[in-house]
């Protein structure tokens, strides 16, 4: 497990343990779409180079995003915190016939850790709308598996790559509070920069893993009432 991720989780746990004023801990679940431009180009190139006919059966589809965030209401309109999200998507170039099969799989997992800057836009009683401008980093793990099976012969290879990039995420969330509970929905756009892929030896390529795309979902958590 990456040490920085462990550090973030421990920080969140410590905050939960303190007697904070106007803090909240939310769990999020939603959907995310992904640009993955360079990776799609990789698939296109592969499709053209493979001597037999192939097809991209999966091409980095929109997937479920899970995560959470911890924030402190520092003023009436401003809230600051940290967030974490997990995204995973992939692609497959495939072909099969009577003589064998071919798979070229890319599975990318991304861990997003960032800072929440939230501003109150509207509130009425327990309902409020905030806009956020979140920033942070995205750590990605790329697993490429290639497998060829012909007649009685199987050839396979598996390599791992990684990348780290930064993101900027404008987002709007609407929440409703009831006692200690808080629930809401959010919608935003995730802008990813950097993220050049490097191999296990640390050698970087010009291709990047780009998680840019829409984010939307629901959130639910606990909210501490002012005393």
């Amino acid at each position: 497990m990456p040490r920085y991720l462990l550090f973030v989780l421990l920080t969140i746990a410590a905050c939960l343990h303190t007697h904070a004023q106007q803090v909240e801990l939310m769990f999020t679940a939603g959907m995310g779409s992904y640009s993955m431009g360079d990776m799609k180009k990789l698939n296109s190139g592969l499709h053209a180079q493979v001597p037999f006919e192939t097809k991209v059966t999966t091409n980095f589809p929109m997937t479920l995003q899970l995560g959470g965030n911890f924030a402190v209401q520092l003023s009436k309109i401003y809230k600051m915190g940290i967030k974490y999200a997990y995204n995973s998507t992939g692609s497959r170039v495939a072909a099969s016939d009577y003589s064998g099969s071919y798979r070229f799989d890319n599975v990318i997992s991304g861990h997003t850790l960032g800072m929440i800057n939230s501003f109150l836009l509207y509130d009425h009683k327990a309902f409020r709308v905030d806009i956020q401008t979140n920033i942070g980093i995205v750590a990605s793990i790329l697993k490429i598996n290639e497998e060829l099976h012909v007649v009685d012969t199987t050839l396979s290879s598996s390599v791992h790559y990684s990348s780290v990039g930064v993101f900027f995420e404008p987002m709007t969330e609407a929440t409703y509070q009831w006692k200690y509970l808080k629930a809401g929905i959010f919608f935003g756009y995730f802008v990813n920069a950097g993220g050049r892929i490097k191999n296990e030896k640390g050698e970087r390529s010009n291709s990047t893993i780009n998680w840019s795309g829409f984010r939307f979902g629901i959130e639910i958590g606990i909210h501490q009432i002012n005393r």
Binding site: L10, F52, S88, A95, S96, Y102, D105, V150
Partner: protein, 620 residues
């Protein structure tokens, strides 16, 4: 303490849950393909049959014809043992079998090709599936051949031509030889195929001594001599060996050819005799002699007068297609030159009165009397006072009259029986200063003499002038009958006079539509009958009434002369001379004659036709 641990454990739990949520790929792209076996796959070696004869260490191009399929690899087996494997990506590749076996011999060579299925499947594209196609060849390895030029030798003994080829001992594996021949530009025709080792020979059964090109093709063969490949060839020309020809003249006067017997008695079936008239490019096949021991040929029917190049060509028993008249003339025969006709006398005047004598001249001052019975000159009448101008003989050979000059000359009146000569000055006969050579004399001494437009009748026997007659114009010719009673005079028209009461009385003239008169005379035995040839009809006319006594057609363009003694009329066309019966006009004989002679002249007497150039032909 427990409360403190819970959040940590909770987040760790969440973290692992998240990691277990890694995206699971799914989906496949299945193509429903089928491998179809190829049809009509053919493995060939370019430029070779299924029998590959390898004489050198060289590569051979293998072609796999399999439509749109691709050859992925091939294996080469020799006698069932794999000698080579190679991956390829083309339907054409090269093999070098001698690399694997260089011992002379015959082997079974198998080329096995792996071709793709063409289905487009993964296995097809990656070359891991396909069909195996094989083809078996016969490999004949013949190493160590040198080079040589096949030079043929010829043996002309025993009535045949034997062609011999000896292959040097350092040339191995020559197992077969074919011998062929070409004459002129004919295609080479194989006449023998011989199997052997070093010495080869064959007899050309069609050779009869011609000039020909002989070609020999050599073939390398496997040790058993059953499989062959063309090796080298060579050609050699063989020169003439043809019969020598000599030309003589037969008793009749036709060329008589004789030649040496052919040296190739086993092959020769006959001789052909060809002739080419001098000045002509046409080759005539005169005839053939089927008995090769008969080496003589009379060229009967040869053009008279004429001269020829004669060829005698041996003919093979089986006549080849190239044996044409042209090749027989140029390549199968020698030649000889010959003139048609027996040697005779030349002449510029030739008179044949009734009887057995011919009177002719070929010199200025001598008139010869020649016996047609003995073929000898029996008298020479010398006009020694000067060269004679012309002469005439009476119809029954009684007298000869010669004019010995053109002006102020003397006439020679000669009695052919007593051989007495009488000289009379022309001034006495026709007057001083007059001139003439147009004369005719009768058997009683009367003579018809033309001078200018005047006809003079003079009795040379008694040396008495008889009468004169003026003609409408200058005359060209005159003829007097044997009895001196009738006279033809040609002066524009032809006039017939009769001597009546010391004067000339005109009996007939040709003025009117009588056609073209080509010949006229009087019948020696019946002087009152005229013989006249008008157009192509020969008439016998009564001189008193000019009634037709007899007539018949003669298909000739010119009438040369009449031999009344033997009853023959000699006429001619442009291509033939013809002899007719003088009484009936039936054709008795004909022979080609030269159309090219510009001074053509023939005469007949007895059984012989004479040409003024000094040749004669005995026709009966």
């Amino acid at each position: 303490m427990r409360l403190h641990r819970f959040p940590i454990l909770f987040f760790l739990f969440c973290f692992f849950i998240l990691n277990s949520c890694e995206y699971k790929l799914k989906g496949d792209y299945f193509r429903n393909l089928n491998a179809i076996p190829p049809s009509n796959v053919l493995i060939t070696i370019s430029g070779h049959s299924d029998t590959l004869i390898a004489t050198t260490n060289e590569s051979y191009k293998v072609q796999v014809s399999c439509g749109d399929r691709i050859t992925l690899f091939y294996r080469l087996y020799i006698d069932g043992v794999q000698k080579h494997f190679e991956s390829v990506s083309s339907n054409t590749f090269y093999i070098n079998p001698v690399t694997f076996t260089n011992m002379d011999g015959v082997y079974k060579m198998t080329v096995e090709a792996g071709i793709n299925t063409g289905s487009g499947s993964i296995g097809d594209v990656l070359g891991t599936e396909g069909y195996l196609i094989s083809k078996e060849f016969i490999l004949v390895v013949l190493n160590g051949q040198g080079t040589f030029y096949p030079n043929q030798q010829f043996d002309r003994t025993n009535g045949t031509l034997k062609v011999i080829l000896d292959v040097p001992s350092n040339i191995q594996n020559v197992k077969k030889v074919t011998f062929s021949k070409s004459v002129a530009s004919s295609p080479y025709a194989v006449f023998a195929t011989v199997h052997g080792t070093n010495h080869y020979e064959a007899i050309d059964a069609s050779y009869v001594g011609e000039s020909a090109n002989f070609s020999v093709q050599t073939y390398l063969g496997d040790p058993a001599g059953t499989i062959f490949i063309h090796f080298v060839n060579g050609s050699t020309n063989v020169s003439y060996d043809l019969p020598e020809i000599t030309a003589g003249v037969s008793n009749r006067g036709y060329p008589l050819l004789s030649w040496d017997k052919t040296h190739y008695t086993a092959n020769c079936g006959s001789y052909r005799i060809y002739a080419k008239p001098n000045g002509s490019n046409m080759i005539e096949l005169l005839g053939s002699v089927s008995n090769i021991n008969d080496t003589m040929f009379e060229a009967a029917g040869a053009t008279f007068p004429g001269n020829y190049l004669f060829h005698v060509a041996p003919v093979p028993i089986q006549v080849p297609s190239y044996y044409t008249d042209a090749t027989a003339w140029t390549l199968f025969s020698r030649e000889v030159y010959s003139v048609v006709g027996l040697n005779s006398f030349g002449f510029d005047r030739f008179l044949t009165p009734n009887g057995s004598f011919i009177y002719y001249t070929n010199s200025p001052d001598v008139i010869y009397e020649y016996s047609a019975e003995t073929g000898t000159i029996t008298n020479e009448i010398n006009t020694s006072s000067g060269w004679f101008y012309t002469f005439a003989v009476s119809p029954n050979g009684k007298y000869l009259l010669a004019a010995t000059g053109a002006s102020d000359f003397s006439y020679l009146f000669y009695d052919l029986t007593t051989k007495q000569s009488t000289w009379i000055l022309s001034s006495v006969v026709i007057g001083a200063g007059a001139h003439t050579g147009i004369i005719s004399v009768a058997d009683n001494g009367l003579s018809s003499v033309i001078t200018g437009n005047k006809i003079v009748i003079y009795d040379f026997l008694h040396q008495v002038p008889i009468t004169q007659q003026v003609l409408p114009m200058d005359a060209d010719r005159t003829v007097i009958s044997a009895d001196g009673q009738y006279i033809f005079a040609e002066a524009g028209y032809l006039y017939l006079y009769k001597f009546v009461s010391g004067a000339l009385q005109q009996k007939w003239s040709s003025s009117g539509s009588y056609g073209t008169i080509k010949y006229y005379t009087f019948y020696p035995s019946q002087p009152s009958e005229a013989k006249i040839f008008i157009n192509q009809t020969f008439y016998t006319k009564n001189c008193d009434s000019w009634a037709t006594v007899n007539s018949f057609a003669l298909n000739i363009s010119d009438l040369r002369n009449i031999d009344f003694t033997n009853g023959h009329i000699l006429g001619s066309t442009t291509t033939y001379f013809m002899v007719f019966d003088a009484n009936t006009g039936s054709l008795q004989f004909q022979n080609p004659t030269s159309p090219n002679l510009t001074t053509f002249d023939l005469r007949i007497k007895k059984n012989t036709v004479y040409h003024y150039g000094g040749k004669k032909l005995i026709i009966f």
